[in-house]
Amino acid sequence: MKRRDFLKQSTLASSLFFVPSFVKAFEDVTKETLGFKKLVIIQLSGGNDGLNTVVPYRNDIYYRNRPEISIAKNDIIKVTDDLGLNINLRPLKNLLDKGYLSIINNVGYPNPIRSHFRSTDIWQTASHSNQYLNTGWLGRYIDSYGKKPHSGIEIDDSLSLILKGENINGIATKNPAILNRNVQTPFFKKILEKQTPEHLSEHNLGYLYKTMIEASSSAKYIYETSKTFKTKLEYPNNPFGKQLKTTAEFINSNIESKVYYVSMGGYDTHANQKNKQSKLLDIYSKSIAVFVNDLEQNNTFKDTLIVTFSEFGRRLKQNAAKGTDHGAANNVFIIGKNLNKPGFYNEAPNLLDLDNNNDIKYSIDFRSIYATVLEKWLKVNDETILNSSFKKLDFI
């Protein structure tokens, strides 16, 4: 190969992909008998302030602790006698009215950690607060069910722990064409085309080749399947809207991927929180509304469950910079068509009974939500995936 060719080939896309016969064999492993159900997990990264999202608008303690950043009673979309939604969540209220939204309050875990990194790990791996796991709960799901990288997709360019399994990892992409282009470089292709199954027995070297083969076949599969569907709706013009649009295109093209993970950033509001969070909630709820609409129009909403969490809530008491610091328990949004208990699933946070950091105590372990989703929605054994048994809830 000439230098110029190599340069061209390592940087430019190219044509058809030849699949060596044994790679095909790899792909034809009996398809797992998986249902149609899809799960979309959204993380509000940075720690969303749950108390200004779902507001206890009749609680004096709330107003007393937040003289500068509380949401005034008339700026609230009232839902019950105690709780209302932030005014920027109007589109979510519409979902709630249709019976599509269930809000679970006070979700957390024992001995809460207030570090973004660590608490995100805990939520993503479903570990205890003093336990370090190498695999994510969705990763373990695709380890047992699906078994291909594209069984779980993160809408980003690098993969988070949540989708890392023991034997197989999910795949990350926010642009299937680019992902595909990256496995279509001629040199890469040439190496793969040449392969006979022999190397697969070699320990780590075999693992590398296997990962290469799976990556290229998943990349190709995602690209070719997802391009058959183009959404007709207009999503809000921002990166989160784009992530959901891509997710909808995956789901509506009937790709066999089961679980999706999307992270939306910006929620670490230590200073001047009010405007920042308003904007974020506005972006979140408007994008979600279009997303749900898109799925409904294509008859896939009934088979999709959307779970939104944040790695922790924020402290009841505002700080001096008109913001809030890292807290503990928080609310989780469940969005879907056939919910058992639309509206508020459980009691409002108890602001009189805080933990020793003056943060909200949890009453529902987040892993109970996972267990419920695994058993009742994805119809798999939750205990093998969570390595433990958690009480099931009845939101679905």
Binding site: M1, K2, R3, F6, L7, S10, T11, S45, G46, G47, H116, F117, R118, T120, D121, N130, Y132, N134, P149, D157, S158, L159, S160, L161, K164, N169, I171, A172, T173, R181, N182, V183, T185, F187, K190, I191, K194, Q195, T196, E198, H199, E202, H203, N204, L205, L208, Y209, T211, M212, A215, S218, N238, P239, G265, G266, D268, K276, K279, I283, A321
Partner: protein, 466 residues
């Protein structure tokens, strides 16, 4: 020493064997080569970045606060943290440069190993730089002194909350990780041992200059019962008792074996190493034993380890020196591959080996030589940070076609490798076995020069192994 063995030694004790190293060493006996590694290691120097400006700024802000009889404002604190974080990035770049250029490679490789054993992270450049050099200082020293030193480090004190560990209200975090992750491993102590150990470390703190300080009023001088012993133990006594457990030596030997020898553990070898290390916890003696033993050079250990992102990155740069014009891009590379120095994921550190690899990281790693040496287009974006605002979190979206802005010293490469035959270059670059089909592909490439061939060699999966 035969070439394969020499390459193996240098890929584990360092970041690969250059052709110059090879020509210098290939006639030498094994013992001389190994003692050379150790004597060079002794010549380590601290890794420092210039912090004078930050120190001056910090002093003046403190003075302002003192003069106005107030605490430093939140904004002043934020400014300082920001400056400090910028310096930590500089330390990251300097560290990678160091790995590429140092003669004390064994000491640096050991330091990397300890970084991932005594895992720690801090926003304060003065403290984390001190911590980093403490790792360097003890990297081949005595493990007992080492543990006692890290227990006194400000960064560690903050990272594992020992600062908040006081008599009235003990915080167990440091005591727990000390045993679970630094010395004994899980199941070799009880919850009660943790509680008692935590008491012994109460009041351990640091002064303004980063030195150790015991806050006597916060220290619990009472009687503790720990791992079956009873006494008025302080933190040092706890560490001594931990080291009396053979499990401690075993725990470290396992870690060390999977890092330097083979991720697949051989229990017999672990027993052998444990019996040596347990004698007096001499790290140098242990490493000398590993590298001098015949079994270290067994076929089953050669080229079977998946390189860490840093090993991969540094390995390439050792062959073709690369200067980053935009150092930020060096952070981008680390982030995309999942290992940013000074920014470990959590106190358990990076898992290593297979955990480095998923579809996305592997594709990126295979493309790394083209990105660094061949102006390949960057078409992927790094994730935002938790602390980022929404716009910043996604800011990388806007940039279109990007390349790494680097200067490559191809001339140095040509001087060292230009006259080698294709086969010599291949043997020197790839320590692992080469897949038969890939081997065939390589032999059929129409080659024009060694530069091209080098990039291609670095792009095959085998180059991911060391």
């Amino acid at each position: 020493m035969n070439q394969k063995h020499l390459q193996h030694l240098y890929s584990r004790a360092g970041f690969g064997l250059s052709y110059n190293d090879y020509s210098k060493l290939n006639k030498e006996p094994k013992s001389k080569i190994i003692s050379g590694l150790f004597s060079n290691a002794e010549k380590w120097i601290p890794l420092l970045v210039d912090v004078s400006e930050l120190k001056a700024l910090s002093a003046s802000k403190k003075m302002n606060a003192k003069n106005s009889m107030t605490k430093m404002s939140a904004k002043d604190k934020r400014d300082l943290t920001k400056k400090s974080q910028q310096k930590i990035k500089e330390l990251n770049y300097a560290w990678i440069k160091r790995l590429e250029q140092t003669n004390a490679i064994l000491n640096e490789k050991m330091t990397l190993f300890w970084t991932n054993t005594f895992v720690c992270k801090d926003n304060n450049i003065l403290h984390i730089m001190q911590y980093n050099n403490t790792l360097r200082k003890h990297a081949l020293g005595n493990f007992r002194d080492f543990v006692k030193a890290i227990a006194r480090e400000p960064s560690m004190s903050k990272y594992l909350n020992n600062k908040q560990n006081v008599k009235k209200n003990p915080n167990e975090n440091f005591a727990r990780e000390l045993m679970e992750l630094f010395t004994l491993g899980i199941d070799n102590y009880t919850e009660n041992d943790i509680k008692e150990a935590a008491r012994a470390f109460t009041g351990w703190s640091f002064n303004e200059n980063g030195g150790y300080k015991l806050r006597k009023k916060q220290h619990d001088y009472g009687i503790k019962t720990f791992l079956g012993k009873t006494g008025d133990f302080n933190g040092d006594a706890i560490i001594d008792i931990i080291l009396e457990q053979e499990n401690c030596a075993r725990f470290i030997c396992r870690k060390l074996y999977s890092y330097f020898v083979n991720p697949k553990i051989n229990e017999e070898r672990i027993n052998e190493l444990t019996s040596i290390f347990f004698k007096n916890y001499d790290i140098k003696a242990l490493m000398l034993h590993v590298f001098s033993s015949d079994w270290f050079y067994a076929e089953e250990h050669i080229g079977v380890k998946i390189k860490s992102p840093i090993e991969l990155l540094v390995g390439i740069q050792k062959i073709v020196p690369v200067t980053f014009q935009k150092e930020k891009q060096l952070l981008f590379l680390q982030k995309m591959m999942g290992q940013t120095l000074l920014n470990p994921p959590n106190v358990a550190g990076w898992k290593g080996d297979k955990n480095w690899i998923d579809s996305n990281t592997l594709l990126f790693r295979l493309k790394l030589p083209s990105l660094l040496l061949n102006n390949a287009v960057i078409n992927l974006e790094e994730k935002g940070e938790f602390e980022d605002r929404f716009e910043t979190y996604y800011k990388k979206e806007k940039k279109k076609k990007q390349y790494l802005k680097v200067t490559k010293s191809w001339i140095d490469f040509d001087k060292e490798y230009g006259t080698l035959s294709v086969n010599e270059l291949k043997v020197l670059l790839i320590v692992s076995k080469i897949d038969k089909d890939t081997e065939q592909l390589l032999s059929h490439l129409a080659l024009t020069n060694n530069r091209d061939f080098l990039i291609q060699l670095m792009s095959i999966p085998e180059y991911q192994l060391c």
